[in-house]
């Protein structure tokens, strides 16, 4: 496979996954506000600031808007093209990548993505806010995103193309799970027993819903919502497909599929880094994370995911840029 194509497949998958996560994050937080009493500007800011921070684009947000409220955040995270990490920014970028490599993916996959793009282009925040309603809108995005994932599963051969796409998807998903947990990190400090109260429970439920983990969580933990259990579930579950451990296991599997190197050993830098992270996730638990400092642990995890994707880029996708002038000169000498 061309290195450039591998790069596009990786970004295609990352951007669609990112858009999907954003849609759920915004929707759940909009829902959450419905349970608050006496909302004023300060409370709204308090609510939305961590959400913006979790996307890593806080600075850009305050360059574009004066205050954080439901409408500005919705606009920023969904429609604003000046934010490349908005839903429409992500879907446009995913579509551009897909356009470059249309020959590699099924036409159904392309059409689903293109339909979503056309749908987003024909909407804006004001319209959603005043007419059609946010719930239906984000539902529509999630629907397309799930269809996209279903088509990846149902129409792509299990070859290098699939491996690079799934690699990108799980890198993004693991990263997003760390960021969603980070929104609530302060509650877990210093000790999980300090937390309580109705609003907090609502916040943790929202977190689980944003990760589409609410039902799966309840199937595993029969008791009430407990912050430490939620963290354990989203980090360490070996069966839930959005937990960090599950994602890293998938990343590891894709890397070994691509190289053909058996599990338990490594043939290149990304495999080595990923193997280490996976073993840390297998051989630690939520108490270790809390002891280390949840925020610091999540930060470090993001950093390690970054290193894995950087190393993968270097190994498979990066090609030394051609120095045209030098190349031309060399070829002209051979002509003489």
């Amino acid at each position: 496979m061309l290195s450039r194509v591998a790069d596009s497949l990786y970004w295609l998958a990352r951007y669609t996954e990112r858009a999907d996560n954003l849609a759920r994050l915004v929707e759940v937080n909009l829902q959450l506000l419905l349970d608050f009493k006496d909302l004023d500007n300060d409370k709204l800011k308090e609510h939305w600031d961590p959400v913006i921070r979790s996307t890593g684009d806080e600075e850009r947000f305050y360059e574009l808007y004066d205050e954080a409220n439901s409408q500005t955040v919705t606009d920023f995270l969904t429609f604003n093209r000046e934010n490349p990490n908005s839903v429409i920014g992500c879907i446009s970028a995913a579509r551009e990548n897909a356009r470059m490599i249309r020959d590699q993916i099924s036409s159904e996959l392309w059409e689903t993505l293109n339909n979503l793009y056309l749908f987003l282009k024909s909407n804006d925040a004001k319209h959603i806010w005043e007419h059609s309603g946010a719930y239906e809108f984000y539902d529509h995005i999630k629907d397309h995103s799930l269809r996209f994932q279903g088509l990846v599963a149902a129409t792509l051969p299990r070859d290098e193309c699939y491996d690079f796409m799934q690699f990108g998807r799980f890198i993004e998903r693991a990263d997003k799970t760390t960021r969603m947990l980070d929104i609530k990190y302060h509650i877990l400090l210093p000790s999980p027993s300090d937390v309580g109260g109705a609003v907090d429970t609502a916040q943790w439920v929202a977190l689980l819903r944003a990760a589409s983990a609410y039902d799966a969580y309840h199937a595993q933990y029969l008791a009430n919502i407990d912050p430490a259990n939620v963290a354990e579930f989203l980090i360490f579950s070996d069966t839930f497909p959005r937990s960090i451990r599950y994602c890293v296991t998938q990343i590891n599997a894709r890397l070994h599929n691509i190289s053909g190197c058996p599990w338990g050993s490594y043939s290149n830098e990304p495999e080595k880094l990923c193997g280490k992270l996976m073993s840390d996730l297998i051989y630690s638990n939520v108490q270790d994370v809390i002891g280390f400092g949840m925020h610091e642990w999540l930060d470090q995890c993001q950093e390690r995911l970054n290193e894995i994707s950087q190393a993968t880029y270097q190994t498979y996708m990066f090609q030394k840029p051609i120095d045209l002038a030098e190349e031309i000169q060399q070829q002209q000498q051979q002509q003489q």
Binding site: M1, A6, M100, D103, L324, I328, Q331, Q334
Partner: protein, 483 residues
């Protein structure tokens, strides 16, 4: 739908031999149309437009910085060619492509046609796209034009005329295949009864032709489509063909030449490429030989071609055959190389560089169509009868200054075809042309896809069919029989 009020206005009409008299090969379509009401028809048209938009069958217009994507307007009324007419066209097109390939081989080798005085040598040697550095170079199987898309028109008597030969990188074939698919969805029941020849195996034939020119007699050569990139207006087509053939689509930056061999840069290292279906013009294909500022090409590609390590389709240097001055000589080429009379006629042409012709041109600028020798897409053209006085004078100065760059033709009253006009909610006559696609693997192995791209000038009275200037397209049916 009612076509009883349809007017032919004195033009040759593809569907009606006279007002109210439908030609036999359009009878079945006519019956189907009559069974539809306006609402059904408009619904079908909308469904088809949406289909194209969703599938991303679009071209990009760069008039604004967003790079707007548009669909190529598609008209539901098919253009139909009966078997007898098609066989005649096939014979004529085959004869023409054989002669063009013989001509290109000749001028890049012995130049007999010039030495025998059939074509004045200066015309060839001064042609913009003549690549003198390739004189004496061999190309695989002596084939220069592998893929050709000659443009055909019909005059007021329905006579087919060749308007130009596109022997470089003719585009549009993806629309032939997409249009057919759209028609099948819109009128699924019509096809089994109408006796329409399928076009779907084009990609298969294209791949077979490309594998046929692989160097080193390889059984399983690596074939790639070389594209200028995602910002090229025909990128959709490049991708479409690569996907249908199951080959990689590459850009210049994906390729590298080492030791006179072409490699692509893959996740598993360098992999050698044997055949390139290139959709980049000569000028941009190798900055070490042609335009040094080209960022699209591959330095050293020409070295690899000369060393016989990679084959190109089409070969380098075919652009000379697209020169409109060369067009004038094609009937003479056919006679010279094949000893035959041309089967297909072409438009009567005057050369501005011939004294007698030039006098005729300059005296009749307001009656003639003047064309630059090397422009395409409807640019660099003077439509005398419809032009403003200043424009005519501008061309007069240009022609006198650089006669080699101009030819002139009498305007042809292009045939018309019933075409849906949303404004009036009825069918009206619109001018059309036709581009068939020819795959050439040698004089005895030529295949022409039974169909082609019918372009239609959607504006009333307009003769310009180009997609960039208000043109649309129709599905083109070639029938098994004559009705």
């Amino acid at each position: 739908m009612d076509l009883s009020a349809y007017q032919t206005d004195g033009f040759f009409d593809e569907m009606f031999s006279a007002p109210g008299v439908v030609r036999p090969h359009y009878q079945k379509v006519m019956e189907r149309l009559q069974s539809l009401n306006l609402q059904d028809f408009e619904q079908k048209q909308q469904a088809v437009d949406l289909l194209f938009l969703r599938a991303g069958v679009t071209f990009t217009v760069y008039s604004d910085n967003q790079g707007t994507e548009r669909i190529f307007p598609f008209d539901l009324m098919p253009r139909i060619i009966p078997q007898g007419e098609w066989e005649f066209l096939e014979r004529g097109l085959k004869q023409r492509i054989i002669a063009l390939n013989m001509f290109l081989h000749d001028i890049y080798h012995d130049q007999k046609i010039l030495k025998d005085g059939v074509i004045p040598p200066s015309y060839v040697l001064s042609a913009k796209h003549f690549r003198r550095e390739f004189v004496g170079s061999d190309v695989p199987k002596d084939i220069y034009i592998h893929i050709c898309g000659s443009d055909l028109i019909r005059d007021k008597d329905g006579r087919y005329l060749v308007l130009e030969d596109n022997g470089r990188c003719p585009s549009g074939v993806s629309y032939v295949l997409e249009n057919r698919q759209a028609m099948r969805r819109a009128f699924p029941n019509l096809f089994p009864t109408a006796g329409v020849r399928p076009v779907e195996n084009y990609a298969e034939k294209l791949l077979k032709m490309l594998r046929n020119i692989a160097p080193r007699g390889q059984d399983n050569p690596t074939v790639c489509v070389l594209t200028p990139g995602v910002y090229n207006s025909a990128y959709f087509e490049h991708c479409f063909l690569a996907r249908q053939m199951g080959v990689e689509i590459v850009e210049g930056r994906d390729l590298l030449v080492r030791d006179f061999k072409v490699y692509m840069r893959t996740t598993k290292g360098l992999q050698q490429v044997d055949v390139l279906y290139r959709r980049i013009d000569d000028d941009f294909i190798d900055p070490s030989v042609f335009r040094p500022d080209s960022m699209l090409g591959v330095p050293g590609l020409v070295n690899a071609v000369r060393a016989g390590n990679v084959a190109l389709a089409n070969s380098i240097g075919t652009g000379v055959a697209d020169d409109k001055v060369m067009y004038y000589f094609v009937p003479k080429m056919i006679k010279y190389y094949l000893g035959e009379d041309p089967i297909l006629d072409q438009v009567e042409t005057y050369l501005a560089s011939e004294d007698k012709d030039r006098q005729h041109i300059l005296a009749n600028l307001d009656k003639l169509v003047v064309k630059s020798a090397n422009e395409a897409g409807g640019y660099g053209m003077l439509m005398g009868p419809w032009a403003e006085k200043e424009e005519i004078e501008r061309f007069r100065v240009e022609i006198e200054r650089n006669p080699r760059n101009f030819i002139a033709q009498s305007p042809i009253s292009l045939s018309r075809h019933p075409t849906w006009t949303p404004e009036t909610e009825q069918f009206e006559g619109r001018h059309i042309d036709f581009r068939p696609y020819i795959l050439y693997s040698g004089p005895d192995d030529i295949s022409i896809i039974p169909g082609g791209l019918t372009r239609v000038a959607l504006k009333r009275g307009s003769l310009v069919v180009n997609s960039s200037q208000g043109g649309g397209s129709k599905d083109t049916w070639v029938l098994y029989g004559n009705e």
